[in-house]
């Protein structure tokens, strides 16, 4: 697996991941492009630079862990895990088909290297806390990362977990809010606004870092600062663009859960380059 902190190399990987996302969802004729594309830089930086992990030993006890709580963005995770060497790249286009390991939402029965089976929103931070607590019990410096959607944080369980992690100082976990401002039925502000978002996490005793979720150096710095922060869990409020990288998908609620047509796929791939 490539490991690099070189920004250009990470950007090149991000382009490859975007191509996979478009191709696999177009081939499946269903899936969630918008929230996959918004998370690309964050997760590429995590997997190829920040996290301590080894695709050859997916169950190594000392590994850092990543959980995709917003499980509908599975295509971004699958593409990255495949490029990292966990799973076959040449099967990505079997996404969502009967028998494929690339299930519609992350499914540990099919890919044991996944840290969680997700798809029902709201549950990931609790799981991450459990993993963080276990690492502390084991005297391990393993860290756990969990990504949630901005719509997802409307779930009550998110705030139960936020209160627990703040109170119990679970400082070996990092939550990443993919703040792309769109959920399923439309814009977050029109459905149930989550603002003031930073103030909410602050008041739950989290270390809050706001950043541009497509700016790789900013992402590297945020994860670095999170690792230095003791006594508090960290949340990255990552300002992102849903559908990022494909102009007609960007900031377009339609592409939350609609696959590109063949023509749209070709246009998208051309744009991504």
């Amino acid at each position: 697996m490539t490991r690099t902190n070189n920004v250009e190399q990470l950007q090149a990987i991000a382009r490859t991941i975007r191509r996979h996302i478009i191709e696999m969802i177009a081939e499946a004729k269903s899936g969630h492009p918008g929230g996959s594309l918004s998370a690309v830089e964050l997760l590429v930086t995590l997997y190829f630079d920040v996290m301590r992990h080894d695709p050859a030993q997916p169950h190594w006890a000392g590994r850092d862990r990543f959980l995709l709580s917003k499980g509908h963005a599975a295509p971004v995770l699958y593409s990255i895990m495949a490029e990292a060497g966990y799973t076959p790249v040449d099967q990505l286009n079997t996404l969502r088909k009967l028998g494929s390991i690339y299930q519609g939402h992350p499914d540990r029965r099919f890919i044991p290297a996944l840290e969680a089976s997700t798809g029902s929103l709201g549950e990931g931070i609790s799981l991450a806390i459990g993993m963080g607590l276990a690492a502390k019990l084991d005297g391990s410096d393993s860290r756990t990362y969990v990504m949630v959607g901005d719509g997802e944080i409307q779930e009550g369980q998110i705030w139960e977990s936020a209160m627990f992690a703040g109170y119990h100082k679970v400082d070996n976990i990092v939550a990443i809010v993919d703040y792309n401002r769109i959920q399923l039925d439309g814009f977050v502000k029109d459905i149930m606004d989550v603002e003031p978002i930073a103030a909410k996490w602050l008041s739950f005793n989290w270390n809050v870092i706001e950043l541009d979720g497509h700016d790789i150096p900013a992402i590297q710095k945020a994860f670095h600062d999170a690792a230095q922060t003791k006594g508090k869990p960290t949340v990255l409020i990552a300002h992102t663009i849903k559908g990022k990288g494909v102009s007609f998908m960007e900031n377009n609620p339609k592409f939350h859960g609609v696959a590109p047509t063949a023509a749209e796929r070709d246009a998208a791939l051309k744009e991504i380059g």
Partner: protein
């Protein structure tokens, strides 16, 4: 009445679509009808109601437990309140609120789950509701309905609105064949005899009713006369129709798009055991399914007419043994 032994199946709309349309009609007729959804209104089809009656529609965001609680509050204050999401989310996330806020105080809330069963297809098990009948039936006083087609769905949405007490309606994502004429009547607690028959009874609900109709036709070609009962009313069950079928046909197959060890089948088995025990076979899901096309999944997980035919042959052979 002429013998009903055959139905020409024509494709209709999805039961969730029929729900959305009928809910809009109800809203036009009665300004006390209010609706809550949890960021899925374009999928549950409450969007039709939301568009015409924005002041009576409450978008709760991705927060199903809160939505059930709000719905219970609206109902307690005299509204005819519907809450809707995918079945798995409204029932699983909202279960405690359904228990203490709805079932226990017998609150007049209407819960409509969509995308039930495995026929949602590609999204996979996290969105597939295969425990909802079990969960819903476990709650005392909750009426549990699972319509097979658009005609039945429309009438059940109306029945639910007029019923004083909590009701859960289970609907599905894909288009399904039409079973009923528009003049068919439905009653809570009463099964519908879809086809007459004397050798075996196939009892089903939801999209398995159409499969049962196809199975009956296949069995007819083998000289087997299969009765088909639509048990859209899972709770209360039509214990009389079940006992009659057990007595008159002496063999029963129950088929459902739900976990087989906790759904319709075990409830029917109880009713049969208490009235007129006879051989029974059960068609349903053994465990969580996976992603795939709806048709591919129904084939792979054995929820097809051919599976019902096999089960019918088997249960008839047990009767003769």
């Amino acid at each position: 009445m002429a013998q009903k032994t055959k139905i020409e199946l024509k494709m209709g709309v999805a039961t969730r679509e029929a729900f959305g349309q009928e809910l809009l009609e109800l809203g036009r007729e009665n300004k006390d009808v209010v609706v809550c959804d949890a960021d899925l209104s374009k999928s549950t089809m409450t969007a039709y109601f939301a568009k015409e009656f924005p002041e009576r529609f409450f978008e709760c965001g991705i927060a199903e437990a809160n939505m059930v609680g709000i719905g219970a509050g609206l109902a307690s204050a005299g509204k005819i309140a519907f809450v809707s999401s995918f079945s798995c989310f409204v029932l699983n996330k909202g279960f405690e609120q359904l228990r203490v806020g709805v079932a226990y105080p017998h609150t007049n809330l209407k819960i409509v789950g969509t995308h039930s069963g495995i026929s949602i297809g590609e999204d996979g098990p996290s969105q597939m509701s295969v425990e909802d009948i079990s969960l819903a039936c476990s709650l005392p006083g909750l009426i549990v309905l699972a319509p097979a087609d658009e005609v039945c769905t429309r009438k059940l949405v109306r029945l639910a609105a007029g019923h004083a007490g909590p009701v859960f309606i289970r609907t599905g994502r894909p288009k399904v064949p039409i079973i009923y004429n528009g003049d068919q009547t439905f009653e809570i607690g009463k099964a519908v005899e879809v086809l007459e028959g004397s050798d075996v009874t196939i009892m089903a609900n939801g999209l398995l009713v159409a499969e049962a109709v196809k199975a009956a036709e296949l069995l007819d070609a083998e000289g087997v006369s299969a009765r088909v009962l639509d048990l859209f009313s899972v709770k209360p069950l039509d214990r009389e129709a079940i006992a009659r079928a057990a007595r008159e046909t002496g063999a029963i197959v129950v088929a459902e798009e739900h976990l087989v060890d906790s759904g319709l089948g075990v409830r029917v088995a109880q009713a049969v055991a208490e009235s007129c025990p006879c051989p029974m076979e059960f068609i349903g899901l053994e465990t969580y399914a996976e992603s795939g096309s709806p048709d591919g999944l129904l084939d792979k997980y054995g929820l097809r007419a051919a599976n019902l035919v096999d089960a019918a042959r088997k249960v008839i052979s047990r009767k003769r043994a």
